[in-house]
């Protein structure tokens, strides 16, 4: 039986995915329907073995104690939850974006600058829903730190402004799939020499935000809530 050469490429890539760009990974998986189905089958195979292994009984009472200890620890760290319960519904995607508690956790933890991979710095500023926001900025407030290191620093800049600059550098269009992420503000240092995947990965560290680089477009969206 002749093996589809794209499936052979898929298997070869599986052994060494770091040698491929994100675009190449995407293109090989999606090269034809048969290859995509082969990938889905491999996922199912792995899940099948994990499903079998995961059947071991879990001690719910011990897990509950761990959960309560975590909650008490977070309370004592002073992480106050101001989130409205409506955030976890469709209103989470409305234009009056209410900060998600995880953003606040990240803000509290990253009060100083945080060193990410490739010398990128980020401090996350929460935007109060009552504070007036400039509807748009013609140019993101940014400055070059050092030309030699290709570092560019954005200071309290809207995400849409940041991405206009960053995406333009990588030859990408930007597509916001919902309104909420437009108004998020970041203070972040970007290294122009890094691949776009690194930059996107840094922003994806923030809970509730998802950047995906596909087909020459950088897609930006709020991730779905954990309740339906």
């Amino acid at each position: 039986m002749e093996t589809n050469p794209n499936i052979s490429r898929l298997l070869a890539m599986l052994d060494n995915p770091e040698a491929y760009t994100e675009q190449e990974v995407y293109d090989i998986i999606h090269s034809d329907e048969e290859t995509l189905e082969a990938y889905r089958c491999m996922v199912a195979a792995k899940q099948a073995y994990r499903h079998k292994q995961a059947l071991q009984p879990a001690d719910a009472e011990v897990a509950w104690q761990r959960f309560m200890n975590e909650m008490q620890h977070e309370e004592s760290e002073g992480m106050k939850n101001e989130e409205s319960p409506e955030h976890d519904t469709a209103e989470a995607n409305s234009s009056s974006f209410i900060p998600h508690p995880s953003f606040k956790k990240i803000a509290a933890s990253f009060i100083a600058v945080l060193l990410l991979t490739g010398a990128a710095f980020a401090a996350y500023h929460l935007l109060s829903p009552h504070r007036s926001v400039k509807p748009s900025e013609a140019v993101a407030p940014y400055s070059e730190l050092t030309t030699a290191d290709s570092l560019v620093r954005f200071t309290n800049a809207r995400l849409d402004s940041i991405l206009t600059v960053v995406a333009g550098h990588y030859g990408r269009k930007v597509c916001f799939r919902d309104e909420a992420p437009h108004k998020l503000r970041f203070t972040i240092t970007w290294n122009r020499r890094q691949p776009i995947a690194s930059f996107a990965g840094s922003l994806n560290e923030f809970d509730g935000l998802l950047l995906t680089d596909k087909h020459d477009t950088l897609f930006v969206e709020s991730v779905e809530s954990e309740e339906e």
Binding site: M1, D15, E22, V25, V43, A60, W64, S225, E226, E227
Partner: protein, 162 residues
């Protein structure tokens, strides 16, 4: 204000199923634990709990979505390397059906694949060995391992064609 006694009861009643689902989706026990905890953190911070008769469906959906969000945050290369589902929401639309199919796949692999296909399939998808390591372990040529694994995948696909 959430009644912690009721939350505790919900947790203990449904934790096993939730952690099982999370482990199946995320492959990592620590991440799975975090995904389940995230669901209960949200409940604790909310102002209502699901009704008892709807709690199971609610909690399993919530943990599924918690896992999907975690997978989505990973770079595509990592999703691929770890063989995460690229469309977990569609795959897990009907969780019970999916679990049955997964059980059937592992049974088929163990009982119906002949050797060396069965061993190669298990080493790749259960033990996460690279193909070159499988070839080395079994004293086989890498191309041969490729061929057997491709055949195994095709065989499983044929067996479980929708």
């Amino acid at each position: 204000m959430i009644d912690k006694t009721i939350l505790h009861r919900l947790f203990c009643r449904h934790y096993s199923e939730m952690i099982h689902l999370a482990r199946t989706l995320l492959y990592d026990d620590g991440e799975a634990e975090d995904a389940v905890q995230d669901v209960f953190v949200r409940l604790l911070e909310g102002d209502s709990l699901p009704a008892e008769d709807k709690a199971r469906a609610y909690l399993l959906t919530a943990v599924r979505n918690s896992c999907i969000n975690r997978i989505k945050r990973k770079a595509l290369a990592e999703q691929f390397r770890e063989l995460y589902s690229l469309d977990a929401k569609a795959d897990w639309q009907h969780a019970e059906q999916r679990m049955s199919m997964l059980q059937a796949i592992s049974d088929y692999a163990e009982n119906h694949l002949s050797e060396p296909h069965r061993t190669i399939f298990r080493l790749r998808f259960q033990e996460d060995l690279k193909l070159k390591d499988i070839a080395s372990r079994l004293g086989m040529n890498l191309k041969t391992v490729f061929k057997y694994l491709s055949q195994s995948i095709q065989s499983v696909q044929e067996q479980f064609k929708p």
